[in-house]
C-alpha cells in the first residue's frame, strides 16, 4: 500500500469538503483496503467515517425503517426490526461473506463496493472500467459476469443487499455540498457509461448517510435465495430477492430483483408483470419463468445463469 494520511472529521461538511480534494472515505475497509493494496484506488488521505457524526442505527421511522450507513452487516443480520416484510435483508446479510467481514463491513460500503471481475481486480490487466479500451471478459473468462448488456463493462454487481433493497423500493439518503437528497435505488444504481465509469450516480462530493425502506402492508412476505460456487464465503452467481403481498389469494404486490445478472442490481419487470394480479398458480409461475431472460444477451460461458435464475425464482415463489 502506498503512503497515506489518516484523519477523521467531526462534521459531515468537513467530510464532503475533503472528498472534492481527493480524500477517500474509510468505513469497514473490507473493499477499500484490498483495492488500495492492489493499487486500483489512489488517494493520499483516508477519512475514517466511523468517527464522523454518522449513524449505524436501525430504527423505525414514520415512513417505514431507516438503516444508518454505518450499520454493519452483522447488525443487519441480527436485527429483529428487520423481521417480517424485510426478512430478506436479514437472510441476505447472513449469506454475505463471513463472520469476520460482516463484523466490519457497513451498509454504505456494501452498496458502493466495486465489481469482483477478475480483470478489474488484476492491476496488470487493462479494462474499460479502469479507463482502458474494451472489456476483456467478453472474449475471455466471463462465467461470473453479467448476462445483460447494458454497459461496455460486463462485470456483474456483487452486492446481495443491494438487490434486496431494490426489491423493497428503498432509497439512499445522500449528503453533499448542496445539502441532503434522497434518491431511490432504482435511480442510484446505473450501469457504467463512458462519462461515468462507476455503478452509481453518487456525486463526487457526496456521502451516503442512510437507507430508507418504505413501510410495507402487514402480511408482506419476502425471501432471498443465493446460488454460489460453494456453500459459504462466495459471491452470488445469482441472487434472487422476492417481496410479495396478497389480497385474498391474489398477488397485488410482486417485486423481484436479481443480483449477479447485470452491471447493477436489476428488477425483473417482465416477471413481475407476468405475476401481478394472478394467484401465482403453476401457469403464472411458468409464464414468469418464460419471460425471465427477455432482453438478456448471455455470453457463451454464462448462459447457465438464466437457468439458475429461473430455478431460484421458481423455488422462491413456491415457498412464499
Amino acid at each position: 500500500m502506498r503512503p497515506l494520511r489518516y484523519v477523521s472529521s467531526s462534521t459531515l461538511d468537513a467530510v464532503v469538503a475533503g472528498l472534492t480534494a481527493g480524500d477517500r472515505l474509510l468505513a469497514g475497509g473490507t473493499d477499500l483496503l484490498p483495492l488500495l493494496k492492489a493499487d486500483l484506488v489512489h488517494t493520499t488521505q483516508l477519512v475514517d467515517i466511523k468517527r464522523a457524526p454518522l449513524s449505524g442505527a436501525i430504527q423505525r421511522t414514520p415512513g417505514g425503517l431507516r438503516i444508518g450507513a454505518l450499520a454493519t452487516l452483522a447488525a443487519i443480520a441480527d436485527s429483529p426490526l428487520l423481521d417480517g416484510p424485510c426478512s430478506l435483508l436479514r437472510q441476505a446479510a447472513r449469506q454475505t461473506a463471513t463472520v469476520q467481514i460482516r463484523n466490519r463491513a457497513t451498509l454504505g460500503g456494501n452498496l458502493l463496493q466495486r465489481p469482483r471481475c477478475w480483470y478489474y481486480r488484476n492491476s496488470r490487466s487493462d479494462c474499460w472500467l479502469k479507463g482502458g479500451q474494451g472489456c476483456p471478459a467478453v472474449e475471455g473468462h466471463h462465467e461470473h459476469h453479467a448476462i445483460f448488456d447494458d454497459s461496455p463493462c460486463r462485470a456483474a454487481h456483487p452486492s446481495d443487499l443491494a438487490g434486496c433493497l431494490l426489491a423493497l423500493d428503498a432509497a439512499v439518503v445522500l449528503y453533499g455540498l448542496a445539502g441532503e437528497r434522497s434518491v431511490s435505488l432504482h435511480d442510484f444504481f446505473r450501469a457504467p457509461d463512458s462519462e461515468r465509469r462507476r455503478e452509481t450516480i453518487l456525486g463526487n462530493d457526496e456521502i451516503i448517510t442512510a437507507v430508507d425502506i418504505p413501510a410495507l402492508p402487514a402480511g408482506t412476505v419476502s425471501i432471498y435465495l443465493k446460488a454460489m460456487d460453494r456453500k459459504a464465503w462466495a459471491f452470488a452467481l445469482v441472487g434472487m430477492g422476492i417481496v410479495l403481498h396478497r389480497t385474498g389469494t391474489t398477488l397485488d404486490t410482486v417485486h423481484i430483483a436479481a443480483t449477479g445478472l447485470a452491471q447493477v442490481p436489476r428488477r425483473l419487470a417482465y416477471c413481475e408483470q407476468a405475476l401481478a394480479g394472478t394467484t401465482a398458480a403453476d401457469v403464472h409461475i411458468d409464464a414468469a419463468l418464460q419471460v425471465l431472460g427477455r432482453g438478456a444477451s448471455p455470453l457463451p460461458g454464462n448462459a447457465y445463469k438464466l437457468d439458475l435464475a429461473r430455478g431460484l425464482l421458481e423455488r422462491g415463489l413456491r415457498s412464499l
Partner: protein, 171 residues
C-alpha cells in the same frame, strides 16, 4: 504521486494486546496484522492472502472476530486486541488450544491460530453453541490441509463441556 506533503509521519498508537498496554508508532497504512507481527513481535496471526480470503490473520477486536489484514492499525486506538498468544489455562483461547491438541485438529498448523480465534469469539458469546453456530463461526477460515473434521470435533467437544458446565450451574 507522493509529494513530500503526502508522506505521512508515524502516528502514535495506544493498543491493548492480550490485556497488555502496547504504545506503538506506526504509519497509517500499516495493517493491524503487520503491527501485531512486526511491531509487537506477536507472529501467531498469520499473513497469507492479505485480502480477506483465507482467515489465517483472524484476531479479536473488542471481542469480535476480524481479519487483521483488513484493519488499519490506526483504527484501533485505545481498542483491545486478543491474539492466539493470549491463550492460557483457564481462558477460552486456552481451552480451545487444549481441545485442538486432544482432537488432533491441525496438520501444518498454519490456519490454527485463525480457527481458534474465530471459535473463541463464538464461545465467549455462547458457551454451548449449536452445530450451526460452530459451522458459521469457522466458515471464514480456510484449512488447506483439510483438517476441518477434527476442527469441528474439537469445537463440539468444548461445546459439550460448556453444556455440562451450564447444566451444573443451572442445577
Amino acid at each position: 504521486m507522493a509529494t513530500t506533503d503526502a508522506q505521512p509521519r508515524h502516528t502514535p498508537l495506544s493498543l491493548w494486546v492480550n490485556g497488555e498496554y502496547r504504545p506503538l508508532s506506526v504509519q497509517p497504512r500499516r495493517t493491524l496484522l503487520d503491527a501485531l507481527r512486526n511491531d509487537c513481535g506477536l507472529t501467531g496471526a498469520k499473513k497469507v492472502c492479505e485480502m480477506g480470503n483465507c482467515g489465517a490473520c483472524t484476531v479479536l477486536l473488542d471481542g469480535a472476530a476480524v481479519y487483521s489484514c483488513l484493519v488499519l492499525a490506526v483504527e484501533c486506538e485505545q481498542r483491545s486486541v486478543t491474539t492466539i498468544e493470549g491463550g492460557a489455562a483457564g481462558n477460552t483461547v486456552g481451552a480451545l488450544q487444549q481441545a485442538f491438541i486432544e482432537h488432533d485438529a491441525l496438520q501444518c498448523g498454519y490456519c490454527t491460530p485463525g480457527q481458534i480465534m474465530s471459535l473463541a469469539a463464538l464461545f465467549e458469546r455462547e458457551p454451548a453453541p449449536t452445530e450451526a453456530s460452530i459451522t458459521e463461526a469457522v466458515a471464514g477460515n480456510l484449512c488447506r490441509c483439510g483438517a476441518y473434521r477434527h476442527i469441528l470435533e474439537a469445537a463440539r467437544s468444548l461445546a459439550a463441556s460448556g453444556t455440562e458446565r451450564r447444566g451444573a450451574g443451572d442445577g
